[in-house]
């Protein structure tokens, strides 16, 4: 009987050793790493093993970090491939590859690699104040399409009432505003129904244009040439129920202000400035239309007209 007990004990010991072998971490078999080159090699093999696991194993065993097959030695993996029917298609994996997969599955190797990579990336010190770099801020200004709409809103009669003068104004708007994609922004393409100007300029035109001297040049020129046409003055005043013979009273000037800058507040000083211009024109012997022309010109040239 004691012989059987002894035999039983030996069998138990063999079983324990076998189980212990399965739990032996690969990391315990890796010699200590003393320099960066060796560490980088380990990192490279670890990453390669992760790629290999994802490509060859993850479809059945889940992701490399969450699989229940972690901490398997190369021998475990090889045994599985050659003994499990559904894994036999992986017989072609080389010993190097199964070694790398084993590294990727090893918890201690994972910690070692992550700690190494963290050591290369220390917590940043507080930044010195002179290194501040402010984000770009652009005032929101309208594109050429917005300006086209604005100039039509101010200076062109409703469609049913248009005259030769309105046609002249519309042509000015087209030439000086709509055709200036590069300067005034507002992209469009050759497939659009209306995309005037150069194809390259139109495609690259900014959706959020910047204020600059070129843009200001076009808008000032548009104001001067459009307001040189009498019809534009008549139209603008008519939109606020005024005519060229209307007095430049505070009330009437406020209406004109609201026409150009809807909903925006203005100061008494601004109203008085327009009134003074109008009065000065009259004092110099200018007629009604010219007096109003100069008054409207200053408002048209203001940057407020294009700021959203």
């Amino acid at each position: 009987m004691s012989r059987f007990y002894f035999l039983f004990l030996i069998i138990l010991l063999v079983g324990c050793k076998a189980e212990h072998a399965e739990e032996t971490n690969l990391s315990s078999q890796i010699p200590p790493i003393t320099d960066d080159t060796e560490m980088l090699k380990l990192v490279s093999q670890y990453n390669s093993g992760r790629d290999q696991f994802s490509g060859s194993c993850a479809s059945c065993h889940g992701s490399v970090d969450n699989t229940d097959k972690r901490n398997r030695s190369p021998e475990n993996i090889q045994n599985a491939i050659f003994s499990i029917g559904t894994m036999k298609f992986l017989k072609g994996l080389s010993a190097d590859v199964t070694y790398e997969i084993s590294l990727a599955l090893d918890d201690q190797v994972k910690s070692q690699v992550e700690e190494y990579l963290r050591s290369k990336d220390p917590t940043p010190p507080p930044p010195p104040e002179e290194n501040f770099r402010l984000a770009e801020i652009k005032p929101i200004i309208g594109t050429r399409f917005y300006l086209e709409s604005t100039f039509e809103d101010l200076f062109v009669a409703p469609a049913a009432q248009r005259t030769t003068g309105d046609t002249q104004i519309l042509n000015k708007i087209k030439t000086l505003i709509v055709n200036q994609g590069a300067a005034l922004g507002g992209p469009c393409r050759l497939y659009d129904s209306s995309c005037p100007g150069s194809l390259d300029d139109n495609r690259e035109a900014e959706a959020l244009p910047a204020a600059n001297a070129l843009r200001k040049g076009y808008t000032i020129r548009a104001c001067e040439e459009i307001l040189a046409i009498n019809q534009s003055v008549n139209n603008a005043l008519a939109k606020v129920q005024l005519t060229v013979t209307s007095q430049a009273s505070q009330q009437n000037i406020a209406k004109v202000f609201d026409l150009f800058f809807p909903g925006k507040d203005f100061t008494q000083n601004e109203l008085n400035s327009i009134a003074r211009i109008h009065q000065s024109c009259k004092n110099k012997g200018m007629n009604d239309i010219n007096s109003w022309r100069f008054s409207l010109l200053g408002l048209c040239k203001s940057s407020l007209l294009e700021v959203l």
């Binding site: 290999q52 990579l117 290194n131 801020i137 929101i140 309208g142 909903g263 110099k284 100069f294």
Partner: protein, 477 residues
């Protein structure tokens, strides 16, 4: 027009007085606020006789709600077009936002890497703003969540007033080597919505200058996966290679495509990782110099390993200068067959079979929080799916809309990367955090309309200067 020097000085003084930079920041009135948001949504002024404007002036309608109703006028119906195709206001809304979306793409012009007649045909067959259509569709078809742009397999074309023109730029269909009944030019006219096309399997036939006949069939609408990433126009715009191109894993890779979508959809420029993140890939014996230096690896570790999902890209250049009749050509992006086994790891030397191996790659970058994302992907489709699961694309979109409506740019990258050598002010940090919040909300609801409404309702949107020049921050928003 006559004037005196006195009048010019008076005018100058008036211009200086009525100058926004001298105006202190203030809260806009309801009318001014409506004019602002209306202008940004339509790039026009509102009709001064419109009942909506009257309601805003009278206080009957909130200006932001009024603007949202204008935005909604361009919503698509079940046919994927605006409901009233005669509504000029709706068309202005659609045009404004589609052009805005198109302006976000780094590459707007088809590169000219093929023969003249093939290059010309690319413009005639493909609308170069189609990549933006995916975003535009999601905005105006609220049943289409924004992650659709990375996950769909649909092929979109623009639906315009003329959808099947017989000629384009003076060229007729008969000049192409495809049957006229199959062949389609890009649509032109006012943008009305989108059309979803299936495969465009066009058979071709032409005789080359050596009197040899060529024929075959190509899918001119082939989508290689990942939604907009694998769509024909996006590939033709961004890969920027010629007909001889074939990936080899080391030297020849579709890197520009990766660089483009990093800029287009992550709002970032390379490098996207910190120094030494890529050191594991240094290969002293590599065929390519960039595998030997840490500084070079820093860009290539991200770019090349994403581009490897498109390794099997092949350009089929048909007809063109090579042909006698018909003369026009076409370039189609298609795929090499996958008939070789997978490689082990990122190759450091040229692999002549690389383009025929499984299209594995890795999504490898530091996100806005500085976390290193290191995800294997199996294809362009899988890359699109994994991108859609990250926060960064949504934060990128939020930052773009925020910039459009306020003029304020925000940094949405890895600000913990000290190698960049700069930091953000208190105000910039607060705006960055706000945009991150908007982006995460967008990831949750996936609705661009909701994002826009959120931005328009921000208190600082209603300030004349958007509080842009104030360091008092955005506390309470």
């Amino acid at each position: 027009m006559k004037g005196t020097r006195m009048f010019k000085w008076l005018l100058l003084s008036l211009v200086l007085i009525v100058n926004p930079t001298l105006t202190l920041a203030e809260e806009l009135s309801a009318t001014a606020l409506f004019y602002r948001c209306y202008a940004q949504i339509t790039q026009t002024r509102p009709d001064r006789t419109s009942s909506l404007l009257a309601k805003v002036r009278n206080g009957q309608t909130n200006p932001i709600a009024a603007c949202m109703s204008v935005l909604d006028s361009a919503q698509f119906n079940n046919n994927h077009v605006i409901s009233n195709t005669g509504n000029s206001e709706a068309k202005n809304v659609l045009r404004t936002f589609h052009n805005l979306h198109a302006s976000w793409f780094q590459t707007k012009q088809f590169p000219e890497n093929f023969t003249f007649l093939q290059n010309r045909s690319t413009y005639q067959v493909h609308d170069n703003s189609v990549p933006a259509l995916y975003i535009t569709r999601s905005l105006f078809e609220t049943s289409v969540p924004i992650d659709y742009i990375f996950k769909t397999t649909e092929n979109l074309v623009a639906n315009r007033t003329t959808n099947n023109p017989n000629s384009m730029q003076g060229v007729n269909k008969s000049e192409y080597p495809f049957p006229a009944s199959d062949f389609r030019f890009a649509s032109n006219g006012d943008l009305l919505g989108v059309s979803i096309t299936g495969p465009r399997n066009w058979s071709y036939s032409y005789v080359n200058r050596n009197n040899k006949s060529f024929s075959g069939t190509v899918n001119a609408a082939a989508n290689l996966g990942g939604g907009v990433l694998g769509s024909q126009p996006y590939l033709l715009l961004t890969v920027d290679e010629d007909a001889t191109f074939k990936s080899d894993g080391a030297v020849e890779m579709p890197r520009k495509w990766a660089r483009n979508f990093i800029s287009d959809f992550l709002c970032r420029d390379l490098p996207l990782i910190r120094p030494n993140d890529g050191d594991a890939f240094i290969a002293p014996n590599s065929d390519v110099e960039f595998r030997k230096a840490s500084s070079c690896i820093r860009c290539h570790a991200t770019m090349d390993r994403m581009a490897s999902t498109l390794r099997n890209l092949n350009f089929n250049a048909i007809a063109g200068q090579n042909s006698l009749t018909p003369s026009m050509g076409l370039v189609v992006a298609q795929e090499f067959p996958q008939n070789k086994g997978a490689e082990s790891g990122w190759p450091a030397i040229e692999d002549k079979d690389y383009a025929h191996r499984p299209t594995r790659g890795t999504l490898f970058f530091r996100n806005y929080k500085g976390e290193l994302i290191n995800q294997p992907v199996t294809s362009v489709s899988d890359l699109g799916l994994k991108l859609s699961q990250q926060d960064d694309p949504y934060i990128c979109l939020a930052s773009r809309y925020y910039r459009y409506f306020t003029g304020i740019s925000t940094n949405v990258g890895d600000i913990g990367d000290t190698s960049l050598g700069y930091s953000l002010s208190k105000g910039d940090l607060e705006r960055r955090n706000l945009v991150i919040q908007l982006g995460l909300e967008l990831k949750g609801h996936k609705n661009l309309r909701t994002l826009i409404q959120r931005i328009l309702n921000l208190p600082h949107y209603q300030q004349s200067d958007f509080s842009a020049y104030s360091e008092r921050g955005l506390a309470g928003e």
